[in-house]
Amino acid sequence: MIGLVIVSHSAKLAQGVHELAAQMAGDQVGISDAGGLSDDSETFGTDAFKILSAIEEVWCDDGVLVLMDLGSAVMSAEIALEMLPEQQRQNCLLSNAPLVEGAIVAALHASLGEPLQAVNRVAEAALSAPKLANTS
């Protein structure tokens, strides 16, 4: 079963999305969050080292999917990935999915035991799922 990492500029947002996703996944899926800076989580920002430890925290051989909010979260996550040993890096994926919807969908599908690429595909598809019934 894959692990999930939630990255946000805000520690509270990362924790909140983590909790929402965990509700979908039960306690089978490893989920961790990395929001704010390492030594000052009240400050908005992202920190490659914090993301790296979040990846390590939920690491498993099936792989880890990383969901990010915006802007420099992506650059920090890229740096974190580059710091992973080659073998782990190949099994760690940065997702283009929207953070909230993507995390929830990913948690659900991860809990069904789907592989990394498949979970990422459904999470990314959440980008185009309409929120309002009359927008079809």
Binding site: D39, T43, F44, G45, D47, F49, K50, M75, I79
Partner: protein, 217 residues
């Protein structure tokens, strides 16, 4: 052969850079308030405070590569905002350029900046005229390479870098942002100097000051 630049001089350069950024915190904040989220001054000041601690505390490594890597790590985790991963990547890539171990000659120093610039472009995906720090750093590195090709002295090469960096920074006033938060403003970003291009200019300003005057000690 010309002047060799040691870790001690690199440390002196980055301490001068940190001090220059801290002096200019309000200026950077002002620039970022106009076209961004007003956090560049605060973020850079925080990162530079961490960098000062690191440069003053650290066991004195003599190896250029290790030194630059430790600078990179400090910036990656200490700055916050897009500037952290960007400056961090600049030094992380610079650390992989060839050195003489505990020193670099002028050609190697130039190459170090080139490696940093290439890393920065891969990370941020920005080109010149996107109104980013690339508009300062790329012309500066190209000016260094051109001056080096005509066998100029350290002072001349770094003066050329500084001048090109300054022109590049000022050029960001005239152009529309295509990267970063300022790009949301579209044409409204014209008329404002880019904060990242400004903090990057100080790298070359302080390099010209520090590396040029340390020849004698």
């Amino acid at each position: 052969m010309g002047q060799e630049i040691t870790v001690t001089q690199l440390r002196r350069w980055l301490l001068a850079y940190a001090a220059r950024i801290i002096e200019n915190e309000d200026h950077l904040t002002e620039l970022d308030t106009a076209i961004g989220d007003a956090d560049h001054g605060v973020n850079m000041r925080r990162g530079m405070g961490k960098l000062q601690e690191r440069l003053q505390d650290e066991e004195q490594t003599e190896d250029i590569g290790s030194f630059l890597r430790s600078v990179a790590m400090t910036l990656i985790s200490g700055v916050g905002g897009a500037a952290g991963p960007l400056y961090g990547t600049f030094f992380l890539r610079a650390a992989t350029s060839p050195t003489n171990g505990s020193s670099v000659d002028l050609a190697q120093l130039t190459q170090m900046f080139r490696f940093g610039l290439d890393g920065l472009q891969q990370r941020g995906k920005a080109q010149t005229d996107d109104k980013t720090m690339i508009d300062t750093i790329q012309p500066a590195v190209e000016a260094m390479e051109a001056a080096l090709a005509t066998q100029q002295s350290t002072a001349v090469v770094l003066a050329a870098a500084r001048q090109a960096a300054h022109l590049g920074m000022k050029h960001t006033i005239e152009i529309e942002a295509r990267k970063g938060r300022a790009s949301y403003l579209g044409p409204h970003s014209i008329g404002h100097q880019d904060p990242g291009a400004t903090s990057a200019y100080f790298l070359f300003e302080t390099a010209a000051e520090v590396f040029t005057k340390t020849g004698a000690d």
